[in-house]
Symmetry: C2
Subunit: 340 residues, 2 copies
């Protein structure tokens, strides 16, 4: 035995053909399931395949078929958003499920830097995939432009503001924020604040708008604490700041459950009881919501459903069934628990 393994060259149809004593065409027909292959030919081929250890080259097949049966799942990851956002994992699983049903391979591409961004763009346009699901894109992300100019079927989860003529799926952030705020007000709270986040994305801006609308005349801009990310620590910090500015606060709408969880701890540290002194509601119904004590009242975001819907849209576009760009809105029930 030499120390370097022989690293055999991979076997090709050619090798199988020679071994089985048939032509390459016959083999191809067998593998693609086109039919028209005799029982004896089939057996000879199958034996030969095992013997030479043949595995079809997807690359070559893709080239001639002009499609890959793969769909990209592109996730932007500005500052570990990928880790903090509990929705992305669910969206990914939902998309994978839908693609898997049609025997499409999901390839997840994460963009963590400008360099990644360019490489992913090359990958997408280079014919590696037949379409893409893009999640958590922000305004002016280069990938948005790439998807516009390339002819690739695409569906966005959430819609970056500069979207045009492309499909997206999402929820009605404004309406659901308005609804849960109204519900919080209905418990008798008089001084209600909000921890807003990611105002440069539609989700963030719309949730704030919904909050504002629900409050109407009672809206007080001083009771809004804007932060960058939907994270636990930002929630705690914002809550402390809010309490400092308005000690008489008796209700809070946090733009995500992670923020709410942070806020909850900050409230506890400040000696406020929830829900007795302060009513608290969140958004997402992520794992956070049930983990908190008391459990959070929150807007249920159908994350897996979003992934599925986006994937299905891409598949429909690939199949030619969906030629017009579509906007799909999914329902967002409210889970009313103990925090308000």
């Amino acid at each position: 035995m030499t120390s370097t393994p022989p690293r055999r060259k991979r076997a090709t149809v050619h090798d199988v053909a020679r071994e089985a004593g048939v032509s390459r065409g016959t083999i191809s027909r067998l593998l693609t399931g086109e039919g028209y292959v005799s029982a004896e030919a089939r057996e000879a081929i199958e034996a030969a395949i095992r013997k030479v250890g043949y595995v079809p080259s997807t690359t070559a097949r893709n080239l001639v078929r002009q499609r890959t049966n793969a769909v990209g799942f592109v996730v932007h990851e500005p500052h570990s958003l990928f880790l903090e956002d509990p929705n992305i994992g669910e969206i990914l699983l939902g998309a994978n499920e839908a693609l898997s049903e049609d025997d499409y391979q999901m390839v997840c591409l994460v963009i963590g830097s400008d360099r990644d961004s360019e490489r992913v763009a090359r990958y997408l346009r280079g014919g590696f995939v037949d379409g893409a699901v893009v999640v958590s894109a922000r305004a002016h992300d280069p990938i948005t432009a790439v998807m516009r100019t390339s002819q690739l079927p695409v569906a966005f989860v959430g819609h970056p503001p500069d979207l045009q003529g492309q499909s997206w799926v999402g929820i009605d952030n404004l309406a659901s924020a308005q609804e849960i705020t109204a519900r919080l007000l209905a418990t008798g709270r008089r001084r209600v604040g909000m921890i807003a986040a990611a105002l440069d994305r539609d989700s963030g801006a719309d949730r704030l708008a919904g909050f504002t609308r629900a409050l109407g005349d009672r809206f007080d801009p001083a009771l809004v604490a804007p932060v960058d990310l939907y994270s636990y620590s930002e929630g705690a910090a914002a809550m402390s700041a809010l309490l400092e500015r308005a000690p008489d606060l008796d209700g809070v709408f946090a733009a995500s459950d992670a923020l709410a969880a942070g806020a909850l701890d900050a409230l506890r540290r400040a000696g406020r009881r929830v829900p007795e002194d302060v009513g608290l509601v969140g958004f997402d119904d992520s794992a956070w919501a049930r983990r908190c004590t008391p459990q959070l009242s929150t807007v249920v975001q159908p994350a897996a459903g979003l992934g599925r819907a986006a994937a299905r849209s891409v598949l429909a576009q690939i199949a030619g069934d969906q030629t017009e760009p579509a906007a799909i809105l999914l329902d967002t029930p409210i889970a009313w628990r103990a925090s308000a």
Copy 2:
């Protein structure tokens, strides 16, 4: 405007050649940076490329070059492990970073079903990637066998028991579990239990072994509560069960921070103070650890480092720099905080 967009066929080198009035060879040399192309040729080509909207076909390029400059990142996802395990995200990011530095594209493939498993196997063996990082594989996962028979460069994060002749990176679960248990004992605890998880993986089994070894004669099997997943809810349930069996418990080692967080809540509900009545330590130093009150004392798992090391190993194998299978162990310092 018709309702169906014209969906132009993509331009090829051929088109560019005709437009620029040069041969395909010259274009190829320009694009691949081989040199030997005159200034005027370059300009003509660049103009032509813009005009016809040419984008090189990665598929065709891969076929002739016999490599893709892509590396797979395979993650098994039995029952939403992907969502619960905070390490995977970090590992992924670390791997992506290392691959990105060498201008390799990371493609993340998630296996959520048997069907996925087969498709991913095809994808991997079909020449779609030059190598793969495999994370959280269990014993007898089909993918492990696939990686063995295919000649693909691979590095596992953690090592499934039936690994042979393949590289892996990990931590010394046994030693670090032993160390933190000893440290817990050093605080004067006399009745120390453990919440063990995922005993069918090396990580889970080794952590239990380390715990056992640290306790020596004092080890009492009745104080071990085994669960399936490293999850918050399993931790809470296991802690309750443990308290029922052994009310005099004064110390707990949870096999992960998520478990510890669940245990913490269960302890609190049972009226036990941490760390006064019960000392609690975890494992991972994930976001959970700092989020708990009190913050968890825990073993620091270098998740991003694991991803980087695995990716580097694969890159080295692709480059031919690493011909022998290697086992790489990373350090695991202990973060001693307030929970014990």
